[in-house]
Symmetry: C2
Subunit: 421 residues, 2 copies
């Protein structure tokens, strides 16, 4: 066994060893630890900013092709550290999911049977650039009674290791075993493949990053992987859409932060409202600096749009670009989303009760919207405090993974001496 594998295996073992203690922690103890973590981040913010400055200095070496967006995600400020601490306090304020009992029912023989939420075990999160993820996941894991192994990117190694070290220091006297949090300090790709094979210790692996990272993890992982790939998000403006809402929502979903996975990439317009909606929509998008492409029918109504090619329907721009399509009806919109959507976030704009209900039932995406911007598909916006990632897997819970989705249910059976006949 080589040295790297030995180090990482020992860390994974240490994380797993804390599970019996973690399952038994009471909520007060966990919340006190979360507040201690928030306090220490504020108290040591100079130290964190110094480490972050080092990461920024090293950036030309660690990520020679880093763009401004990556730099924005990497950089920390006093304000950002305050926000990270606030997020930990928000997690403390949320109800503890562990021990919640669901659907307890009495059977004819008097057995009471229900499901109880329990921690999953050891989570491993592999992520890039944003150092706030370190504290977010440490906080969510603790509150949900899970151990966590964190492996950030090489571009944020100083920030991440400093934050993790300080957080572990904060909980030393709170009754929480600091070993529950393990930061992998080796940022080479080899570490990722080692982690992916430690199914003896790791129960769930969550890659958050580019498609290459997700491919490497999925290919090697021996444990379940929760992830999402591309976010080709759609909004469908139905025949009964309110035009002002349609324009506001489409422009917001596209332009408010186009580099995020939940930003809009395609809008589908019902043919009945295309003549009146399109000119105004294209004008509003153009004013927001969005490059607008369109299908043939769109081009006829608003000739200023760039003709769309086949490739446009399956391209995630992550940029100020959008493609519009006129559809004949609800069914054509649904079929288009089923064909080109990636199951992350899709929505409808309509005032029609029945159409809205049919869309909610039919669309098989992790987040389905009615009359709201897809940009809300986010753990913090959902009131989850934070998220460890967004899942579009077909099992477990889909969407932003907060406290609840970091637990699993077990059956509990409460008897009075019952035996089986």
């Amino acid at each position: 066994m080589n040295t790297l594998k030995t180090i990482i295996t020992k860390q994974a073992q240490a994380a797993k060893n804390t599970l019996p203690e973690l399952r038994r922690l009471n909520t007060d103890t966990k919340n006190q630890a979360l507040h201690a973590m928030a306090d220490i981040l504020i108290k040591h913010s100079e130290e964190i900013l110094t480490a972050n400055a080092q990461d920024l200095t090293d950036l030309p070496h660690t990520r020679p092709n880093a763009n401004q967006a990556l730099k924005n995600r990497l950089i920390l400020t006093k304000e950002k550290i305050t926000a990270i601490a606030a997020s930990l306090r928000a997690i403390a304020a949320l109800p503890d999911p562990v021990g919640e009992i669901l659907g307890l029912k009495t059977r004819p023989n008097g057995l009471r049977i229900g499901k109880m939420r329990t921690p999953m075990g050891v989570l491993c999160c592999i992520y890039e650039s944003r150092p706030n993820v370190t504290a977010d996941i440490a906080g969510l894991a603790l509150k949900s009674g899970n151990a966590c192994i964190l492996r950030g990117g090489r571009e944020s190694i100083h920030s991440n290791t400093t934050i993790a070290r300080i957080l572990k220091q904060a909980i030393q006297n709170t009754g929480v075993n600091p070993d529950y949090l393990q930061m992998i300090e080796q940022t080479g790709r080899e570490g990722v493949t080692i982690l992916a094979q430690l199914d003896q210790y790791i129960d769930l692996i969550i890659p958050r990053g580019g498609e290459k990272l997700i491919d490497v993890v999925s290919q090697h992982a021996k444990m379940p992987v929760l992830k999402h790939r591309k976010g080709i998000c759609h909004l469908y403006a139905d025949a009964d859409a309110n035009h002002k809402k349609a324009i506001d929502i489409i422009v917001n979903a596209k332009a408010q932060n186009p580099s995020t996975c939940n930003s809009l990439e395609k809008a589908l317009i019902h043919e009945k409202i295309a003549d009146t909606l399109l000119p105004e929509l294209v004008r509003a998008l153009t004013q927001a600096n969005v490059e607008v492409r369109g299908c043939e029918r769109t081009q006829k109504i608003t000739p200023s749009v760039t003709p769309a090619t086949d490739a446009d329907w399956s391209t995630e721009y992550l940029d100020l670009k959008i493609t519009l399509k006129i559809v004949k009806n609800f069914d054509e919109a649904v079929k288009h989303i089923e064909k080109y959507g990636t199951g992350l976030a899709d929505g409808i704009i309509t005032e029609n009760y029945t159409t809205a209900g049919a869309f909610l039932q039919t669309i098989d995406s992790a987040n389905v919207f009615v009359n709201a911007s897809t940009r809300f598909a986010d753990g913090f916006e959902y009131g989850l405090g934070a998220e460890v990632g967004i899942s579009t897997a077909k099992i477990h819970g889909r969407g932003p993974m907060g406290l609840e989705d970091l637990t699993v249910t077990k059956y509990i059976v409460l008897g009075n001496g019952q035996t089986r006949k």
Copy 2:
């Protein structure tokens, strides 16, 4: 592409193509189809029994080492077919999980956000001997809006294909596309590895059978696998146990059907009650034809027990054998279960409220019992109508997988024009 792969891939594709229709089926349509399936099984029971007789005739060739237990599982009777039909009607009578909305809450900006249950997609179940599984899974899949691919064992191929053909015939005029149900007629191991790699079409694979089958599926599967391996089930008779309940429950859990995964394998006895409980317990077990083994301390109190070896603690007997151990306290019992348990079903016998609560919180098993026999760990006993299998995975829902665990939640976001700031 060889012929077998072509055939199986086409079946998987056909199953997947029915998903958009399945998601939109209303509950009445699904229930009518389930009743039509139950009716036709009764009507065609002679045909099914003839096919089953063929399987029994072929058994010396298909399973030269078949024991009586396998034969019992394989054999069908009029009564068993009536029970299969009743199970389909029971599934029809259960609430439809699809579309259920959980935890809908209003955010400060007026967005209403909750989770909606939606079908998982295409399930693939690989199982052995029991032909009733064919109808159980066909029924559970339909009610939960999933397509299913079934691959039974070679020893039950005539029974399985006959049942599947008849069920598909039953739903031809009910509005359910019969393609949702695909029976794989090739029972070689090669078919299993082909299925395990069709992650393009199959969302979840469930192996139900021996460890070899589970190993093959786990090794090759590109999609999530839900399964359980061994069932080393424990009951812990606490210091505050009612002795009569302890004896009744331990004897029932061990002897009522020892060949099942939820039957008891080890009993842990608190030292405070060992002197009084053990003699009576050993007598009751012996009367039930159970071979009793015991730790050193057990041997001192009841010298008739066979001395236990280290191997006993990690052996699943699936037979009329049990091993008893005296423990010092709750913590030792929990540690023993954490070390040797397989996470399937473990329970406590106690009249103490606090101890019962601590056991429920601490034990990380798919089914945790208080004062009841572990033999109840079963979908039918839980009121789920039937089960597609029992999962001890760390994600999704653990325990017997019924309708609810064949769905996944998606977030729904109901707005009124909200945009993100």
